[in-house]
Symmetry: C2
Subunit: 376 residues, 2 copies
């Protein structure tokens, strides 16, 4: 279909691997991090800014774009890439997660989901076929199936029904993709925290032969150890030749754990949302830029960082901009945090390619475990 995935190198001691994923709008190496551009814009960032941070692919939200400005409008204007002036890969989620977390849910049937917009309360009925049709209009490079995101915690009986429905919907999504040569489609493994449900979900999806597989329904409140176990045990159920995407994860340490387990793709709002809240990532730990200790601090956020923000501005200036609520600071902070994430991914790929991923991982943990004492 619309993508080609090639594995360049596998780690000797873990399932970590470096690959290259080719889409209709260009290629990128994996493991890859996708910043979240909810409304067709990674908050505060221009396409040029994203390129400068090392971003190669972004995620956009089908649910949000369906409501505003509408997928038909975007299609009329030549598709999402053109609309947002980003001539590089885009993955769209299916809207499933947002319908279940953001909208006022009215009714789930086997046919689809009736929900009310979180914006104006208007009612919408979305079937799996609609979710695909919308994503086809948007023209994203990677389409996600429409899945049911179960709440957490929830009893196993609910998950059983939910997994069955997600499988049925996945089939209908595949059918709705017929004739589509430019776009790829990923299935989403659900099953909550029940490994037998995850196995069932993975098995059924793998039979359908998707272009890639996502692990969904995690990062919803479960313990980190539970999530790590689910990821670790789910990846081996998926075909090694296909890319694996862990949805909505996560913190740098979570990403490293998941890479170890064999995950290739990630998205998360943490770097961008934290940036807007004034929390900045550094190799020595996190900086809360509003803290008074930075008021006269002439150093950049991270002395080893080569991002636009660190090349030009001091912690003192960023703190001043944050204190006075100057719009510029949200952009400067976001540039830094995304650069940090993309550098991390670059280092991960390099470590895997050089057969020293486990050393890298240990170094990383040692560094973040001593971080608290270093920062004010």
């Amino acid at each position: 279909m619309g993508i080609e995935f090639q594995i360049l190198h596998k780690d000797k001691y873990t399932r970590a691997r470096v690959g290259i994923l080719k889409t209709a709008h260009g290629s990128f190496e994996t493991p890859v991090f996708m910043p979240v551009g909810t409304y067709g814009c990674v908050k505060s960032m221009s396409p040029d800014d994203l390129i400068e941070t090392g971003t190669k692919i972004i995620l956009a939200n089908t649910y949000h774009l369906y409501l505003r400005p509408g997928h038909k409008l975007i299609e009329e204007l030549g598709g999402l890439h053109r609309f947002i002036s980003w001539n590089h890969p885009i993955l769209t989620d299916s809207g499933g997660f947002q319908v279940f977390s953001l909208a006022k849910l009215r009714k789930i049937t086997d046919e689809g989901v009736l929900f009310q917009s979180h914006l104006d309360g208007s009612k919408h009925f979305i079937r799996p076929e609609d979710a695909i049709s919308i994503q086809r209009s948007l023209g994203s490079d990677i389409i996600m199936v429409f899945d049911e995101c179960a709440p957490y915690p929830v009893e196993k009986g609910y998950i059983e029904k939910s997994v069955q429905r997600t499988t049925e919907w996945a089939k209908r999504c595949l059918t709705a993709m017929k004739g589509n040569r430019d776009q790829a489609i990923f299935g989403i493994v659900q099953g909550g925290v029940y490994m037998d449900m995850r196995e069932k979900s993975a098995k059924e999806l793998v039979q359908m032969d998707f272009d890639g597989y996502a692990i969904g329904g995690l990062s919803v409140g479960e313990e980190k150890e539970i999530r790590n176990r689910i990821v670790r045990e789910t990846v081996p159920l998926l075909p090694t030749a296909k890319p694996v995407y862990l949805m909505g994860v996560g913190k740098p340490e979570d990403i490293i754990d998941a890479v170890t387990a064999g995950v290739d793709m990630f998205d998360c709002v943490i770097p961008t949302r934290n940036a807007r809240n004034g929390t900045l990532f550094t190799k020595e730990g996190k900086i809360v830029i509003k803290n008074a200790c930075y008021s006269k601090d002439e150093r950049p956020v991270d002395e080893d960082c080569d991002c636009y923000t660190c090349r030009n501005f001091s912690r003192a200036y960023l703190r001043h901009l944050f204190t006075t609520k100057e719009l510029l600071v949200y952009r400067l902070n976001t540039i830094h945090n995304l650069f940090y994430y993309q550098q991390l991914m670059e280092e991960i790929r390099k470590a895997i390619l050089e057969d020293r991923f486990m050393e890298f991982r240990e170094e990383f943990y040692k560094r973040i475990n001593k971080k608290e004492e270093n920062l004010c």
Copy 2:
């Protein structure tokens, strides 16, 4: 002192002229427009963005920087240029205007002004000497005297006293500048809408031999015709060899009128504030980007504009970003409006240099007078 001003060309039929002003942080051609960077940041813009719009000098607000982060802190960190990473000319206003318009004014005496911060109600007493000392700490290239900005409308008796005080304060400001070789200082002609008061003010200031002269206390609610007359009649009272700065003006047509009268320097929040409110300047008139007529408009804001925004984004996308309150739109709009203003200044300078400023002016008026019918 800290600047050199050279007149390159004078218009044959008006007082319009092109000059070059050399400061400790570089030179620029006049007539020049200075974007307003209240807190040491032109709202939403990075230094690189400003350069891209053609901006050569910015204005910063002494009053705001005195309150946050404090001039002593900025001085400790190497001065304002370094603090904000802008290695180009900066003019600081004296804080006079803000004390009289923004702060809660407590008491004006001949000694100085007692006011309460608009932020936290804290009390501050600022003498003319303090205003200079603060601006010396900031290290701006052009310092403004501390003046009394009279309210409008107000009876002539008030203006008489106010002009007298402004003259006294100007003398004290000059004394406080002693030994300062890097920074220049401009006097500010006051006098409200009373031409005899303006004459008195100008005469007294000119005797003190400032590096340049500003016309202050306008754009405070008076009619456009009155302002134009005051400017037209005040400029000839000032030495032709010195730069003339009309404070807080204005709309493109106001700038053209003032250039005609012989003004060299301008500052105004209109392009930046309008940008954030979604009003965009084009050669055909103003665009209110939230209007529904732009929802499917694939054209850039201005088809003849070469700014980053117009090179990359459609009106439809800007409208979408504005509707969804995406932070990026405030920057993209500001880039466009400042580029428009700086292009206008470039065209004004070119027209003067090519001895066709009056034709340019007539063309400009013809264009903006037919604008309303063209835009939705």
